[in-house]
């Protein structure tokens, strides 16, 4: 440990300083610069957030600080100074010494960051041991309990797959902070979690780091979250720091065009903006994409009544218990409007979507599409029904066949349903690509050559190929970056007004709901706990659960000055 004398003076030395940092990846096509001229300082005990979209170099910059660049990455210029010591080209031995004990890390995805074959306790214990701390069972339990894991002593004997996402993230936070590092790198620590869990975890992380005096380098794509949690925000774009400064100042007075765009489209901030504007007496409709008037709402295209789904869970000795995933859910979708079903993972919202699509049979209840109950349809009628209701799924990486080019992907539903001739089908595909604002030259490309946003546009084009009346979007934008998310939401809104589509929007992200939905139905543990128009639900949430969900939107605690709002 090197000791600086700086703490005695009024201006302490920075804990971490990146000077002119450049990071290069060597690929088969030569060197690719990933980060250029990155400047950054973190003072002891301070929280600094790096904000940017995926590929902006924000994670790479942070990982470079603890020597965790991928094998083909290297620091090509500049220096990394930790606590007065230049560690840019420190030996492997020195870096291993620093890791854990001086610089901790909380990674992004709790599902993939714990080794599935070792018990949680083991993974905590080896951290303590490697950094020379006492590592008895009571020490392990203490560390886990600090991170807010209930019943830590017995939980330590469980495997990661027996933990929920939130509990896993708590275990990872416990590991990251177990050796009392002076700096914690938190790489999107909650983006894979439900909003309410996200809030709890971030609050806990805040409290812990404050108590321990740990500095935090928070990496996130959500500007609202960054502004709420950090003292200082650094915006990265295409490998460069484009703007840096105190959080609120950056929100109220963004100078770089990219930051301005980020501020304009961050869902959490947009949602706040609507709320602030409403206080000022502006109607939501004026701020949002065109929305239908109340009179059209009488024509109900989908009516769901007492929909129930019971799964049998296999137990030992051939027994099985019933698990009610969806419990007597009733709602309806008016033609040409958007209804959002909101809930956390495990609330049953995706099961509802699958049943409405006819992909999963209902245990009881009815789903009427244009007055016809689809739960009783035969094979032939079901086939025709599928033409009229189309899905868009969450993961544009997984939902497009990698062996099909874009033309074949979009044309397939037309061919399956025997629509038109080869010639008219090609014309239709061109039209569809045009509608989703993709060049028709893209037809011959394959999904792996496209970005996430482009893929999701292809998925939308494919869904629209059969001129459906209803489109079911199952978390259709949650895998996308904020800016792309905003573009896709706008596209969906445009298509709705153009084609008169009705949307069933399944999501966990209330900020997105506020931007696109006319009606909201909130689900909790299989039951529908609240529903109403978006304004009603957002302004006067009646159940505690909805209130908790609303409070958990990142940035909810921000007091935005009127000029931003």
């Amino acid at each position: 440990m090197s000791h600086s004398t700086g703490h005695q003076t009024a201006m302490p030395l920075p804990l971490l300083e990146l000077r002119d940092l450049a990071i290069t990846f060597s690929t088969s096509n030569g060197d690719v610069p990933a980060v250029r001229n990155a400047h950054l300082t973190v003072m002891p005990g301070e929280t600094v957030a790096i904000v940017g979209e995926s590929g902006s170099g924000k994670s790479t910059t942070a990982l470079a600080a603890i020597g965790l660049l991928p094998a083909n990455g290297r620091v090509s210029n500049g220096s990394i100074i930790f606590d007065g010591e230049d560690i840019t080209h420190a030996s492997e031995k020195r870096i291993v010494e620093l890791r854990g004990s001086s610089i901790g890390m909380v990674p992004q995805d709790p599902m993939s960051n714990l080794n599935p074959v070792w018990k949680i306790g083991f993974q905590v214990r080896e951290t303590l041991k490697a950094n020379g701390l006492p590592s008895g069972p009571q020490d392990v339990a203490k560390v886990l309990a600090e991170a807010g894991l209930p019943d830590a002593a017995s939980r330590a004997n469980q495997y990661p797959h027996e933990f929920s996402g939130g509990m896993r993230q708590r275990a990872l936070i416990a590991i990251g902070l177990s050796c009392r590092p002076r700096l914690l790198i938190a790489d999107e620590p909650t983006s894979a979690l439900d909003v309410t869990v996200q809030r709890q975890i971030l609050d806990h992380l805040d409290t812990m780091t404050e108590e321990l005096g740990t500095a935090v380098l928070l990496i996130t794509h959500d500007l609202g979250l960054a502004a709420e949690r950090a003292h200082k925000v650094i915006v990265m774009y295409k490998g460069q720091v484009v703007e840096a400064g105190p959080a609120l100042e950056l929100l109220t007075n963004p100078r770089h065009p990219y930051t301005q765009k980020l501020v304009a489209s961050a869902p959490s901030i947009a949602s706040r903006r609507i709320e602030s504007a409403k206080k000022a007496g502006v109607r939501t409709q004026d701020l949002l994409a065109p929305s239908v008037t109340a009179t059209a709402a009488l024509d109900r295209v989908i009516e769901v009544e007492d929909l129930t789904k019971v799964f049998k869970i296999r137990g030992s000795w051939g027994t099985s218990t019933d698990f009610t995933a969806v419990d007597k859910v009733s709602f309806s979708i008016a033609r040409g409007t958007t209804t959002a079903v909101v809930g956390e993972s495990g609330s049953g919202k995706s099961t509802v979507a699958k049943m409405v699509l006819g992909l999963e049979g209902a245990t009881s209840g009815s789903i009427r599409f244009d007055g016809v109950d689809i739960t009783t349809l035969g094979r032939k009628e079901m086939f025709d029904f599928r033409r009229r209701v189309q899905p868009i799924f969450q993961d544009p990486y997984g939902s497009l066949d990698p062996m099909y080019n874009i033309y074949r992907t979009i044309e397939e539903p037309l061919r399956v349903h025997g629509v038109g001739t080869a010639k008219t089908r090609e014309k239709k595909v061109r039209e569809l690509l045009d509608q989703v604002a993709l060049p028709s030259a893209m037809m011959q490309r394959f999904p792996n050559e496209l970005s996430g946003g482009q893929r999701q546009r292809v998925a939308i084009a494919r869904a629209l190929a059969l001129d459906p009346e209803v489109v079911i979007c199952d978390e259709a934008v949650s895998a996308l970056d904020v800016l792309v998310q905003a573009q896709i939401l706008n596209l969906l809104a445009d298509l709705q007004s153009e084609l008169g589509l009705s949307y069933l929007f399944i999501t966990h992200d209330l900020a997105v709901v506020r931007q696109i939905a006319d009606h909201v139905a909130v689900m909790e543990k299989g039951k529908l706990v609240e529903q109403g128009t978006t304004d009603e639900v957002f302004d006067n949430p009646t159940t505690a659960y909805t209130q908790a969900l609303l409070a958990a939107i990142p940035g909810a605690a921000l007091e935005l000055p009127p000029e931003v709002a």
């Binding site: 603890i66 965790l68 991928p70 492997e92 291993v96 010494e97 620093l98 890791r99 854990g100 004990s101 901790g104 890390m105 990674p107 992004q108 995805d109 993939s112 960051n113 714990l114 080794n115 599935p116 074959v117 070792w118 018990k119 080896e126 951290t127 490697a130 950094n131 495997y159 797959h161 990872l172 590991i175 990251g176 050796c179 296999r314 137990g315 030992s316 000795w317």
Partner: protein, 308 residues
């Protein structure tokens, strides 16, 4: 878990019945008179032939023959072969040699395959990796009888490091060369499987997290990369153990090992029906047990897998 094991043992019953029925039927349908094989070229008197037919139930229809055989198996009496020796005694005599050879081959392929695969995987694209990949491809491509004769000639005959063939005692040193030949092909597969698996795991998020925790490189590799990578390898090794226990007809033939493979080969040549059916049934049971062992090992290695 207990219930799962019991169920797996119960599943052995239909497998056993089906396998014996099939093999019995195949042997029954072989052309030629079975007694001719016993009597040899000089032939027997009709009275002796009739006696033999009655002794081995050859005068009965297929179903009766099969049921009589089953009855024998269930009372632990595998009967005698055409030379009049109890089949159970013969199996007890030759199986230990085969088991010894199989375990030696398995240890060789596992140790060398995993070590080489680990190094190759960690140094992906480097010279070591490329050379072992090419070598393993050659080993896979060359038929085992070529490899066997080649090594027998080079090491046993030219260099005279070991005996070119195995005596009746089948000592450890004598079995070493055939075990290497037997293990070579599987060694190449184990190496490639380990390598692929290591490459997949070394970039896993939890490996990066383990590094960030401050663990040494060595510990990260052994505890977090290797153990996770061994799961598919163990599956392969277990299945291979079953196959090796069944005797390697070619290898045992080349090195004159008095094992199960060689015995089965001679029984097939002699048209010795009872012997063939008994050995094959025995091998099927061994194979099923090896598979059960793999499944249990699998659950032990990967706690996410639970049997109910």
């Amino acid at each position: 878990m207990v219930w799962y094991i019991v169920r797996r043992f119960l599943q052995l019953i239909p497998v056993f019945l089906g396998a014996t029925l099939l093999v019995y039927f195949l042997v029954f349908s072989l052309p030629g008179d079975a007694t001719a094989a016993i009597c040899g070229e000089r032939g027997c008197t009709p009275a002796v032939v009739a006696g033999l037919r009655e002794q081995y139930n050859l005068d009965q229809p297929f179903w009766i023959q099969y049921l009589l055989y089953l009855k024998g198996v269930l009372t632990f009496d595998l009967g005698t072969n055409f030379s009049g020796r109890p089949i159970a005694t013969i199996i007890a005599e030759v199986f230990p040699t085969t088991a010894k050879l199989a375990i030696m081959a398995l240890v060789i392929e596992a140790v060398f395959g995993i070590v080489f695969g680990l190094i190759a995987g960690l140094r992906k694209g480097k010279i070591f990796d490329s050379s072992v990949l090419v070598l393993s491809l050659i080993v896979i491509a060359v038929p085992i009888f070529v490899l066997g004769f080649l090594m027998q000639f080079l090491i046993g005959v030219k260099l005279q490091w070991t005996n070119p063939t195995v005596s009746g005692d089948a000592t450890f040193t004598e079995l070493l060369l055939p075990a290497v030949v037997l293990g070579l092909v599987s060694f190449a597969y184990v190496l490639r499987l380990t390598r692929t698996s290591i490459i997949e795991n070394v970039n896993a998020d939890y490996v990066r997290t383990a590094t960030a925790k401050g663990l040494s490189r060595r510990r990260v590799v052994v505890v977090h990369v290797l153990r996770n990578s061994l799961i598919p390898v163990v599956t392969f090794l277990g299945a291979d153990l079953g196959a090796l226990m069944g005797g390697a007809i070619v290898t045992e033939g080349i090195f004159n090992v008095n094992g199960v493979g060689n015995t089965l080969y001679r029984a097939v040549l002699n048209g010795d029906g009872p012997m063939v059916v008994s050995i094959v049934t025995f091998l099927i049971l061994i194979f099923c047990l090896a598979n059960l062992l793999v499944d249990l090992l699998y659950a032990w290695l990967d706690p996410r897998i639970r049997y109910a």
